[in-house]
């Protein structure tokens, strides 16, 4: 479904991705973990074609998106739903309009059908009655839930979650994780999730990939990662200050 092959990316001569390889199967839910600033969001942006690699290939359902542009790339993007780090809700639109936006712009559904879908999505994320609020009038956790509803409203084949729980309290973190699991079960999408929530994330995803130093140092099931002997993975999941990862580096 998604295959990342040897991708490299530098910003102002600083190499962020240095030969990433990752394969995600159809309907699989995979988390990318790693230190802040190690390039997890950059990797996600490559997968949806918001950034293009300096080297390497990205295959989405067998199509190499690094060779595409314009309408062809948009055709691939239509398979995606993306939940951005800060939600990326449109400030000038209400919660209802934000969720309805992709349907209004990308489908030929009637107003009534759109309304039904949006109300159902609001119900799913526990925000019934908040449709008329503007993003500035709701909390951070609510914004992420609205962003989740917007990302899923077109029932995409692939969903990318960029730190869906960062900055939220533990109860909301758990409710977001439950929402992701429920929607994954309901819609059957292929998901890639960037997260710092350890150990909670082990209960949510099928596999975990650890990104460090611009490469994927280990990929495995949650059990394999928990029992990993790799010193980088061990240090990261235990949160230890001693080890190969420099805490403030």
């Amino acid at each position: 479904m998604i295959e990342v092959i040897e991708i490299e990316k530098s910003f102002n001569s600083q190499k962020v991705l240095n030969g990433i390889n990752l394969k995600i199967a159809d309907k699989e839910l995979v988390a990318i973990i790693g230190k802040s600033g190690c390039g997890k969001s950059v990797l996600l942006k490559h997968i949806v074609g918001l950034l293009m690699p300096d080297k390497g290939n990205i295959l989405i359902e067998g199509t190499d998106i690094t060779t595409l542009s314009g309408g062809d790339l948009d055709g691939i993007r239509e398979k995606f739903g993306v939940l951005f780090q800060g939600g990326a809700l449109f400030d000038s639109l209400t919660v209802y309009q934000n969720i309805a936006f992709p349907l209004r712009e990308k489908t030929k559904l009637s107003k009534k059908e759109i309304r039904e879908r949006v109300l159902e999505a609001l119900e799913d994320v526990g925000l019934r009655g908040f449709g008329n609020r503007y993003p500035a009038e709701i909390s951070g956790g609510m914004k992420k839930r609205v962003a989740l509803a917007r990302a899923l409203i077109t029932e995409p084949k692939i969903v990318l979650f960029d730190e869906p729980t960062t900055g939220l309290d533990p109860i909301i973190v758990n409710s977001m994780h439950r929402l992701i699991m429920n929607t994954h079960k309901k819609y059957g999408y292929t998901g890639l999730l960037v997260s710092h929530e350890i150990p909670e994330i082990f209960e949510v995803v099928d596999r975990i990939a650890m990104l460090h130093g611009g490469v994927i140092v280990e990929v495995g099931t949650t059990e394999e990662i928990k029992n990993s002997t790799d010193p980088i993975v061990r240090q990261f999941i235990t949160g230890s200050l001693e080890g190969p990862i420099e805490p403030l580096g």
Partner: protein, 256 residues
Amino acid sequence: MERFLNTTGSWALSQLSRMGHMLIFLINALYFIIVPPFKFRLLLRQIRFFGNKSLVVILLTGSFAGMVLAFQLYHTLRKFGSEALLGPAVALSLIRELGPVLSALMVTGRAGSALTAEIGIMRITEQIDALVSMALHPMRYLIVPNIVAGIIVFPVLSSIFDLIGIYGGYFVGVKLLGISSGTYFSQMENYIDMTDIRFGFYKSLSFGVIVSWICCYKGFYAKYAAEGVSRATTEAVVLSSVLILVWDYFLSSVLV
């Protein structure tokens, strides 16, 4: 010497590349202006945005510009015994020059800066990325409505500026300095023709493109959080203002 040439050369090349980038941005926007679907609702919103933000400041500056102009011209014209020409002198200065230029500068400061900040915030909060990830082109949704709104609104605001300026001049010339009302307006009809009005219209139309283009461009490529947006806003206002004056000079010499 070699070092100086190297530095100057690389600076010139980077400026050239930046100008090329800006030009490609404009050409891209013009392409989306003519290719459907058109976003009329967004266009109306942006017309309201420009008009709403700028109308009061246009009324204020227009009236005072007309009043100052009348004062200054009255004293100059009196030396030649031509006070009767005050009306056409005020109107011609406003219609051909001051109306388009001053209104464009005012809109740049008021709505242009707000536009850059708004688009810049959309950039740094990933709202533009969100549009792209939905396979929707930000040019169509963010840039085209603003450029078309600029083309529509600038001539209208410039006309309002001219009108209110002429009445500001009337207040000073007729009510304060004692010129007869009939002289003020009747002489105007004799000295102003459609060419002058067209001249001002072309100017404000092109200023509309310049301001909306520069302000959108700077916001669209804003970087590095709040500081980046603030820098983009300053650059947009300064560059738009400079370009308005440079383009004004160019048009004035071409459209004599």
